[in-house]
């Protein structure tokens, strides 16, 4: 089964977001096609993270709408987004520090839990079966991300690079159709970046997951993404495949020309 890039699955129309008086996003529109890797780039403070936060409902835009698989939302909320198959990772790793790797990933299975509190309290039939079945699923993710040796380690004790991987694992455990990655390679060394790139491509390739990705490392972005949106000071200044974006004068002056 090959995952050809398909129709538009997620469409943002004229999204504007402000905190108090500060405008974070101004009238941004772009779309994401099924199975593609879509990158959002831009200098610090360009509003990239805010963009992701709007998509999965952590922030509520003052204007604009989000069209997800043809359904219109004036604003998302995190629960609806999760239900709709959107999961994400965080720029500053947001793992559950008090739990180990398996449990962190098990939380990613939360939406698929059917048993109720009473059944769980008694470790009773359905609850027990579910726990074990989801554990098996989580183990597949652990295997996929090659983190077998730390499966029972409390996440707080892990080095940064591995925490990032677990963060990705938790998002993957949701079996998302759209995966939002907020600077997945920030602060990693070359080897870790290579691994992470490989995982991102593998996820896209094996599960056909649509990926929206924020990344600082231009080389990586241009390498792995199908299309790129460029933001600057909350405004969209470029959109297209990596070659087009590279060639756009506006982008060059705003971003690529400036050394970071």
């Amino acid at each position: 089964m090959n995952h050809q890039i398909g129709d538009v699955i997620l469409d943002l129309k004229n999204v504007s977001l402000a905190f108090g008086g500060v405008k974070a996003l101004t009238d941004i529109s772009f779309d994401v096609r099924e199975h593609e890797i879509r990158a959002i780039i831009g200098p610090n403070g360009a509003g990239k993270s805010s963009m992701l936060n709007v998509i999965n409902g952590v922030y509520r835009p003052q204007q604009g709408e989000i069209i997800l698989r043809g359904e219109h939302f004036a604003r998302m909320n995190p629960y609806k987004a999760a239900k709709a198959g959107i999961s994400r990772t965080f720029q500053n790793i947001a793992l559950f520090k008090g739990m180990n790797v398996i449990d962190n990933m098990m939380t990613g299975r939360n939406l698929k839990i059917r048993s109720n509190l009473i059944q769980q309290a008694f470790w009773w039939g359905p609850a027990r079966r579910e726990e074990l079945a989801h554990r098996a699923k989580v183990e597949e993710v652990i295997d996929f991300l090659e983190i077998q040796h730390i499966r029972k380690t409390p996440v707080g004790r892990l080095p940064y690079g591995l925490q990032k991987r677990v963060d990705l694992g938790r998002a993957l455990a949701m079996e998302p159709s759209i995966l939002l990655l907020d600077e997945p390679m920030a602060g990693m060394n070359v080897e870790e970046k290579q691994d992470m790139c490989r995982f991102i491509l593998d996820i896209n390739d094996q599960f056909g997951t649509t990926i929206v990705l924020i990344e600082h490392d231009m080389a990586v972005v241009m390498d792995i993404s199908d299309r790129v949106v460029v933001l600057d000071y909350g405004k969209k200044i470029g959109d297209g495949n990596p070659d087009e974006v590279r060639a756009s004068p506006e982008v060059i002056s705003a971003y690529l020309g400036v050394s970071h």
Binding site: V58, Y79, A82, S87, F90, L95, G98, G108, R109, A121
Partner: protein, 358 residues
């Protein structure tokens, strides 16, 4: 040192996810249960039952409840005493108003009522966090203090304001002497601890902990804070309320609202913090510590004074008790902020790695 884990490999997830995956732990727990159920009733005298064991069991139960809310879900509460009160008075009212209602049912209904009240008072947690919430829970405390003091219906119009129960029995088993009371509470604690452990290792427990550790991330992966927090309040209050009913019915037999004052709330919070936030075992340790310490000090201080030829007055003892108690709490928080349970697990880890240090 005593652990021999070679060969204890797991071939199924069920085996890997059991509560005590290590065989030695299972044997230890079994041993402790045997001692608790068989040896102690045969060996221990009445005073210990009344002064230590029964309060310990009931407060452990309450501490587990508080720990679910504070330790697992991260919602600080200073109103646990209120929910004990609700449990106790609700059970009392069910007991006296419904003819022939079995004792067990009354107690559990007390717990359930407390759970409902817990949900109501948990609603602010959806908006309010941290220390603000802690203070908000005091509202529950003072409100219930007032309700049970001022509204006569709840105390069956008792003129003295105190209520009492008598002639307790479960299916013909008279709960009238210390041993039977002890066993009754022990059964409760054993079952409830197991239920709590199950919940905390299941989806619901992970929801609580996710909310505690990083609520935004929890929401993003589809955990609803509303459900997670209110369920924690409900379950916690159920445990605390049940403990309250036992405290009233079994331990005190007759009581006034002061039995569940704000001091009780603080005491319960102490237990979970000293015992260890986020562990079931820690709740028991904490309860043991808080119950036993004053009694030990009471016995020990005059004796110590005697050694140095100082006669310590009763008032002096109670002052010294306060100082030592407070000092110990501070000492504990500084030396082991994760509580006795952490000491326990570190000790266990050391035993597993013995003779190596790491």
């Amino acid at each position: 040192m005593l652990y021999r884990e070679n060969g204890q490999f797991k071939t199924t997830y069920a085996a890997d996810q059991q509560i005590f995956p290590i065989a030695q732990d299972r044997w230890t727990i079994l041993g402790i249960l045997l001692i608790a159920f068989i040896a102690i009733p045969l060996l221990v005298d009445e005073y210990l039952f009344r002064a230590i064991l029964i309060p310990f069991l009931i407060l452990s139960l309450a501490a587990i409840g508080v720990n679910i809310l504070v330790g697992y879900c991260g919602q600080i509460t200073l109103g646990a005493g209120a929910f004990m009160a609700v449990g106790a008075y609700a059970a009392y009212n069910f007991h006296i108003r419904i003819e022939g209602l079995p004792l067990l049912v009354s107690i559990l209904l007390g717990g359930l009522t407390s759970a409902l009240v817990g949900i109501v008072f948990g609603i602010p947690s959806l908006r309010v966090r941290g220390l603000y919430l802690a203070v908000a829970t005091l509202a529950a405390q003072f409100f219930t203090d007032w309700v049970f003091l001022r509204i006569p219906w709840f105390t069956d119009n008792s003129s003295s304001g105190s209520v009492s129960v008598s002639n307790l029995q479960v299916m013909g088993w008279q709960i009238d002497n210390p041993v039977s009371k002890y066993l009754f509470c022990l059964i409760f604690l054993t079952i409830f601890a197991l239920l709590a452990k199950n919940m905390t290792r299941c989806a619901i427990g992970r929801q609580w902990m996710a909310i505690r550790d990083m609520d935004v991330a929890a929401e993003v992966i589809g955990i609803r804070p509303l459900f997670a927090k209110l369920s924690a309040f409900a379950v916690s209050s159920f445990f605390v309320g049940t403990a309250g009913a036992l405290w009233g019915f079994i331990h005190l037999a007759s009581w006034e609202p002061a039995a569940f004052s704000v001091d009780r709330s603080f005491q319960l919070l102490f237990m979970v913090i000293i015992g260890g936030l986020g562990t079931i075992m820690g709740s028991l340790f904490g309860a043991a510590f808080i119950v036993v310490l004053p009694i030990v000090l009471n016995q020990f201080l005059p004796a110590l004074g005697g050694v140095f030829g100082i006669k310590i007055s009763t008032a002096g003892v109670s002052h010294a008790e306060l100082i030592i108690f407070g000092g110990l709490i501070v000492f504990f928080l500084i030396k082991e902020p994760h509580g006795i349970a952490r000491l326990w697990s570190t000790g266990k880890e050391k035993l597993r790695l013995w003779p190596f240090p790491h």
